[in-house]
Amino acid sequence: MSTEPTLPLWEVFIRPRVGLHHKHVGSLHAADSVMALHAARDVYTRREEGDSIWVVASKNIHASDPNNAGENFDPAGDKIYRHPSFYDIPDDVGHM
């Protein structure tokens, strides 16, 4: 088997079931979005992993720069009050 260099790369997102959100599961090669959806169905939903598929051309994904990780993410580190963990939840509210 050889990798076909002319076929673009696609990122695949699967939604496990209605009400949940699509999650990134991997990538594949395909000529266009229609074929990418077929391939995603065949590669990533063989074991009933989901009921909806998104594909996005990998070239359209823009990533944050790992070199900026410090300035991007560290400032949130000391703002623990943003976590809603300082409230007493009455027992009869149940799972939140």
């Binding site: 088997m1 594949l28 000529a31 074929m35 077929h38 065949d42 590669v43």
Partner: protein
Amino acid sequence: MTVSSALLHSVVQIADDHLILGHRMSEWCGHAPMLEEDLSMPNMALDMIGQARALYNYAAQIENKGRTEDDFAYLRTDREYKNCLLVERPNGDFAHTMLRQLYFAALMHPFWEAMHKSRDQALQALSFKAIKEISYHIRHCGEWIVRLGDGTAESRQRMNAAVLNLHPYTAELFEADEQRLEAIEKGIFPEQAPLKAAWENTINSIFYQAKLEVPDTTYSQSGGRRGLHTEDFGLLLAQLQYVQRAYPGSKW
């Protein structure tokens, strides 16, 4: 001729179509041109073999002589297989394989759709599962054929070659022998003429998008429905049956 012998005969024909086409498709496993298709083609093969199993089980039940699905699949001689010749044609290149699958799926889609109203309850029940699988085969193979036919000079040439090679085997899809006619008469199997019209519709629409021509030829090959197969069929059976013949009844 009893209704059950006509039914048995017709069910075995369809079961054989599915087993043999599924086997051919499975030959691609590990050899596909890309990883994505290496999963897709065995997927289709498993759909075909799954349907073959259901049909053989039903045939065994109709026959009621203690045979099992394995007896039908592995322990008959070539003349006892009644599949159409199209499904036993060798894989050739990827274009051939996609076209062979489309030609067959374009028949089975209207077939299973009509079977939703069959007077036979077992076949009716099977039709609802089978039609979903076959719909995907039409879509997947059709999309490939459009892209290959309307693709590069080489893909177009290969697609055209596949059409010229395989088209003569399509007329046999619509043949009906005495037993099949009996099954049609009894409302168990669908009429052939509407199947042919639906098949032509599907093929014409995909060929139009793929910029392919339906060959203007009346030459056709048939014989499979009577057990008269092509030379390639012997090799196929040898591989298909080898384990069961060498180690009869073995389990693992």
